[in-house]
Symmetry: C2
Subunit: 205 residues, 2 copies
Amino acid sequence: MTQTNVPDIVIRRLTTYLQTLKHMAELGKTVASSAEIGRWTGVSPAQFRKDLSYFGEFGRQGLGYDVGFLRDQIERILKSDQDWHIVLVGAGALGHALMNYQAFQEGHFQIVAVFDNDPSKIGTFVGQREILPLERLAAVIAERHIDIAILAVPAAAAQQTADSLVACGVRSLLSYAPITITVPRGVHVRYIDPVASLQTMTYYL
Amino acid sequence: MTQTNVPDIVIRRLTTYLQTLKHMAELGKTVASSAEIGRWTGVSPAQFRKDLSYFGEFGRQGLGYDVGFLRDQIERILKSDQDWHIVLVGAGALGHALMNYQAFQEGHFQIVAVFDNDPSKIGTFVGQREILPLERLAAVIAERHIDIAILAVPAAAAQQTADSLVACGVRSLLSYAPITITVPRGVHVRYIDPVASLQTMTYYL
DNA sequence: GAATCATTGTGACATACATCACAAACTATG
DNA sequence: CATAGTTTGTGATGTATGTCACAATGATTC
């Protein structure tokens, strides 16, 4: 039913649909057609329906989709209906901002440990969490069964840090470093880089 | 030479090449083949060469590419060789973090004004910059010829804020709000949403 | 409950993107 | 300066992604 051969771009659009369905539900909408969801998300109705068809049948002909039901189904597909514990490496300004980010304190993704290599930071606190030395990385990841890490270290340290994380068993990396990271097959990396995003837009100006 | 019919995905890869070329130059590399750049960026050599072919010929057969030259050419193509003044809307925790982000203080993208709608914040400072009321938006954007804005407001306010910005003439929006924004043709929006990025990875776990 | 209307799910088709493979052009060497 | 070795740029080809269009199905109306 799920499994690979679903294009990655479909998975990415699923997150957009999920956002929008949550929003619709908050506004009290209970039913929506693919045309309506298409309008809210900027995706064509046919594409929306085809994307869903990779995973099953979720709509009712003549009526549309039950907003709450479809939201729950997409959460299940993305495995966002369960809690994920993640570690953060890098306790600089960005690391602090991420620790204080509401979505990482209450949502399904929770930062459960912070690491840094700066001796002067070790032992200090970010909110409730103590900054730990990198030596503790392997132990914490093993103990808490961590699969996901956020990388908020300088570009120069990113590859090496990623290598350590992967060696500890982390299989998903969200990197804020403006550099391409090389990882073994089976490990996934996503990048967040506001400067790169802006550069793709200035091209069109 | 430039102009549309270049796929957007090529433009996005250009930012990756640029990052890597800058990195290579810092390490003292002066020449690199497409095979080598491919290894550093995770892009196939053929794709790298074809991407560049949309814009001209930059390599030397038998030798490869001059790292500094190619970096400068890609910067020119992306218009990243000039300075861009941008405004930030939303002076919450995220807005503060962005204001203090080094790349937005010294790079080619500089945040020159911050806005918020919370009366208790107006007049207070973030670093050197005073938080301005939204009423000042139109005037500042016009005076300083702003084309680009960063949206760091809650999801509920994002669409309305985007509408204001577009009405003031902003043509590129970088939104941190976890919601799809609808804009007129010709206006570009990119999204940064760490939760969405993480969700695309948990699917594969 | 028959007839009309709305909407899905999906095969067939179209388009866009990625890879292949090779001629052309340059370097390096003795 | 001729030969061997590299590497580019790109047409031809293959694959993946997006759109179209319609049969099937359920809702709605009178």
